[in-house]
Symmetry: C3
Subunit: 367 residues, 3 copies
C-alpha cells in the first residue's frame, strides 16, 4: 500500500472554517492589499497553494516561488511586498510567520468532540467536571478532581485524585496526570505524556536503595504545551513547575523539583535532571542534556545535543557537540583526543626547548 | 522472588508450531543434509539447543559450539558445513541468519486473538472494520476510520477519526494514532508509540509562542515496524512519511515533515528533527541525533550516539562520538579541548619560529 | 492561572500518617535526643519546616539552616549534632538521608485504592487475581496471568497472557506488560513504561529486513523500580533480566537479552543496546548510551551523557562528554578537533626537526 501524498482529496477531511480575506486580515492584524472579498479555504506552501489557499513568505530563500504561486493571497513583510509587483492579494505583516500562525488557527480550528462524559468513562463521584467539558471513552477521572470549562480529556486518559485542570485544556488520548498535579488554562498535552510520576529519589544504605516518597506536585501554568511521551516528574518536597507559555516537545524528561521558565522552549529528546532552573525565554535544543541543580540564565540558548554540567550565568548560545566526520577520519582524531593533554605538554616542551629551557620539572607540576 | 531463567518449562507457554525438518528447509529455501523426517519444535542457541530444536551459526566466533551442540539441526553456510564433519542434520543457506529468521517465524507464528470487536471497545458507527479484524478491550476507533483484514488493534489503543489501517497490521496495546494518519499493510506498532501528534511548530511574536496548526498526516507505508514509546509527528502542511520496510526502534522521535526512506533502520533513542530526509537503506545508530532540514544519502550509516548537523551527500559511515576514558584522564583532555584552537596557534607559531618568521600578525587574522 | 506554590493548604490533601517522635526514631533506627512525645505530621526542608514537621541535614552546605529552622525535629549525624547547641529534638543517625527516607515512608505511606476488580476492567477467566489485589478501571489482565497479594494494577494497564506479577507490586496507570513477562515482589512501575515489547532484531536479506521472532521474556526481580515511559525489550531467545533492587528512571531504553545487575541505578534518558551486562551496584548517568554486547564491571560508574562503546573491566568512573563553551569558542575548537591528527603530526614533525631528523617518511607510516 503506497498512499498518495497530501492532496486536496486527503486534506478534504480536515475541518476547515472558510474566511473572507478582509476578515482574516483584520483578525490577524495585517494590512490588506487587494480583493478582501476573496474566499480563503485553506493554507498551503507557496509552491503548491491553490486558488483558495493562503500562503506566506517568511524565509527569503523561497522568494522565487512568489513569481509562480497560485495562492489566493500571500502573507509577507512590507519590504518583500514592495519588491514584488503582482496582481495577487497580499497581507502585509511585520512578522509574516506569526501572522500566518494566526491565520492558520482561524482556518483550522481544533475540532471539539461532543461535550459530556462518554458512557465508558469512569468519573469519581466527588470530581467536578464542567458541563461543557469532554471526558472521552475509557478515561478515568479521580476523586476530587476538577475539570474546567471546555476542556477535553481524551480517550484513555488517567486523571488522578485531587488533580486540577483549568479551562480550555486539551489532553490528547492516553495522557496520565498523577494525583494532586495542576494543569493551567489552555494547556495542550499530547498523547502518552506522563505528568507527575515519582521523581527519581533514593537514599543509599549499604548498597541498597531506599525510595524517598515524592510528595510534591507538578504544576503547569497556563498556555503550556507538552509533547508526546514526555515525562515530568513530581517534586520530592517542593513542586516541579512549568511556567506560562513554555513549550516542550516529545520524549523530553524533566526531573523533580525543576522550574521551566515562562516562554522557554525545549526541543525533543532533551533530558533535564532534577532541581534545574531553566530561565524565562530559554531555548533548549533537541537532545540537549542538563545536569542536576543547575541554573540557566533567562534567554540563554543551549545548542542541540549539548551536554551541560555547569550553570549558565548570562544569555548567549552555548554548544558542546562532537563534530561529525567520515568514520576513519573520526577514528584518527579520537585517538589523539584521548591523549590531548600529552600533546599539550609536548607543545609546551617544544616552546621551552626553543626558548632554551628544560621542560622536565614542569611536567610534574601538571599531575 | 527470583524467577528461573528460560527453560523448556517457561518456554512451554510459547505458542510453537512444529515442523518436519524437510518442510522447514523447503520453506526457508535451504539445502537439507540429513534426516528430513526430524520433528522441529523450537529454536535455541547452539550451546543450549535440545533434541528438537533448530540452531544456527552465523558469527564464526561461535563455531566451537558446533562440536558440542545437541541441536536437532543447524542452519549454516555451505562453507562452514564443509569444515564440520558431523552426523547431525544441517540446513545449508548462503545467509544463515536470514534463513534462521524465516525458520523462527515458521516455528513461532504471532498468536492471533479471537477476531471481532471486544464488548468494551468503542467503535464509531461510521468506522469500517473488517470482519476478521480484532478490536481489543478498551480500544477506541474513530469516525470514518478503516481497519483492514486480519489487523489487530490491541487493548487500549486509540485510533483517531479518518485513520486508515491496512491489512495484517498489528497494533500492540496502548498505541495512539491521531486523526487522518495512514498505516500500511503488515506494519507492526509496539506499545505506547504515538503516531501523528502535532509537530513542534510555533511562531515567535514578542517572546511568546503561537502554535502553528499541524494539518499534515503521518503516512506509514507497508511492512514498517515502530518501536515502543516512539513518537512520529504529523506534518505541518505536508505529510511525515515512513517508506516501506523501514524499521524504527524504541523511544525514537521523528519530527514533522520528515521522510524515512525504504528499508532504512533507526535504532533506539535516536532523535530526528523536522524536515529530515533519510535515504533508503540508511542505518541510523542508537541515540544518534539529526538536526532539522538535513538530507542523508541513500545507504549512509550514522554511528550510534553521533550528533549530525550537516547533510550527508554520499554513503559510508559517519561518526562523532567523544571517546570515553577514566574520569581523571577525561578531565585533563577536556580541559585542553576547550583551548584547542589556542594550542593550534601555538604549534603554528612554533613552526614559524623554526622557519625564522614572526607569528604575531597572523594571530590577529584568525580572530 | 498561576497556582500557589506548595503550602500547608495544598499539601493538606496528601495522605499523612502522624507519628510520635519516639516511635518514629525507633522504626528508623535513630537515637532520639529530646521530647519523644512530639507529634510529627509531615516532612519538609529545614528552611520551611513547621512545628510538626521533621527535617534532615545531610549535605553540610545547608548547615546554616539549623540555626533558623522551625522543625519539630531534625535528623542528622552525631557529628553535626555535637556541633549544634539547640533545644530542638534531634534524631541521630549515621546515614541521615537514609534515615530520612525511612521516616518519610512512615509519614507518607502510598495510598492504596479499594481492593477488588473494577467493574470496567477486563480480566480473563483463567487469570488468578489475589483477593486483596486491585485491578483498576479499564485495565486488562490476560489469560493465565497471576496477580499477587496486595498488588495494584492501575487504570488502563494492559497485562498480557501468562504474565506473573508478585506481591505488593504497584503498576501506575497505563503500564503495558507483554505476555509471559515476570514482575517480582514490591516492584514499582511508573506510568507508560512498556515491559516486554519485541527486541529490535532483524536479519538483512538483499537489503530488506526479516523480523526475528522475540520469544524470550523480561524478568524483573524483586524491589525493582521502572520509570515513566521507559521501555525494556523482551529477549530474542534468552530473557532480559533486571536483578533485585535495581532502579531505572524515566525514558530509559533497555535492549533485548540484557542484564541489569542487582542494586544498579540508571538515570533518565539512558540508552542500553542489546545484550549488555551491567554489573551489580553500577551507576549509569542520565543520557549515557551503552553499545551492544558490552559488559560493565560491578560498581562501575558511567558519567551522564557519556557514550560507551567498549566494556569496562574494573570499577571507577568513566566519562566521555564534550565540554560546553560559548558557541563561538566551541566553533573554533571544533574546527581544530576535526584535524587533530594532523596537528599531532605537526607537533611530531617539530620535535624531529628540533632533534635534527626529517619527518617525511613517518607521515606515510601513519596512513
Amino acid at each position: 500500500m503506497k498512499p498518495e501524498p497530501v492532496t486536496v482529496a486527503t486534506k478534504g477531511v480536515v475541518a476547515v472554517r472558510p474566511w473572507k480575506l478582509a476578515a482574516l486580515a483584520e483578525v490577524i492584524g495585517a494590512t490588506l492589499e487587494g480583493d478582501g472579498n476573496l474566499d480563503i479555504r485553506g493554507a498551503a506552501p507557496l509552491d503548491r497553494a491553490g486558488a483558495h489557499d493562503i500562503a506566506f513568505l517568511s524565509d527569503p530563500k523561497y522568494r522565487a516561488h512568489l513569481e509562480t504561486t497560485q495562492a489566493a493571497a500571500v502573507i509577507l513583510s512590507p519590504r518583500e511586498a514592495a519588491a514584488w509587483a503582482t496582481p495577487r492579494a497580499r497581507l502585509l505583516a511585520a512578522n509574516p510567520y506569526a501572522a500566518y500562525a494566526k491565520a492558520a488557527n482561524c482556518l483550522y480550528p481544533e475540532p471539539l468532540p461532543p461535550t459530556g462524559v462518554h458512557p465508558t468513562a469512569t468519573v469519581a463521584a466527588t470530581a467536578q467536571v464542567a458541563a461543557d467539558a469532554v471526558i472521552g471513552p475509557h478515561a478515568t477521572v479521580g476523586e476530587q478532581a476538577i475539570i474546567g470549562a471546555r476542556s477535553v480529556i481524551g480517550a484513555g486518559c488517567a486523571v488522578g485524585d485531587h488533580v486540577t485542570i483549568g479551562n480550555d485544556v486539551r489532553l490528547h488520548p492516553r495522557v496520565v496526570i498523577y494525583s494532586r498535579c495542576v494543569v493551567g488554562d489552555r494547556c495542550v498535552l499530547q498523547s502518552g505524556c506522563v505528568i507527575g510520576a515519582d521523581g527519581f529519589g533514593f537514599a543509599n544504605e549499604d548498597g541498597r536503595w531506599i525510595k524517598i516518597p515524592q510528595i510534591g506536585r507538578v504544576v503547569l501554568h497556563s498556555d503550556v504545551e507538552i509533547g508526546a511521551n514526555t515525562t515530568i516528574d513530581r517534586g520530592a518536597l517542593d513542586d516541579t513547575v512549568v511556567e506560562e507559555g513554555a513549550k516542550i516537545d516529545n520524549l523530553v524528561q524533566i526531573g523533580h523539583n525543576g522550574v521551566v521558565g515562562a516562554h522557554a522552549i525545549i526541543a525533543g529528546c532533551a533530558g533535564i535532571a532534577g532541581s534545574v532552573n531553566i530561565g524565562k525565554y530559554c531555548r533548549i535544543g533537541g537532545a540537549a542534556m542538563i545536569g542536576g541543580h543547575l541554573s540557566i540564565a533567562d534567554g540563554a540558548i543551549v545548542a542541540a545535543a549539548t551536554p551541560l554540567f555547569s550553570s549558565i550565568e548570562s544569555p548567549g548560545m552555548y554548544s558542546g557537540v562532537y563534530p561529525v566526520q567520515p568514520h576513519r577520519q573520526w577514528q584518527k582524531n579520537a585517538v589523539q583526543l584521548r591523549q590531548l593533554d600529552t600533546l599539550y605538554k609536548r607543545v609546551r616542551a617544544l616552546e621551552k626547548a626553543l626558548a632554551g629551557e628544560t621542560p622536565a620539572t614542569e611536567e610534574h607540576e601538571e599531575d
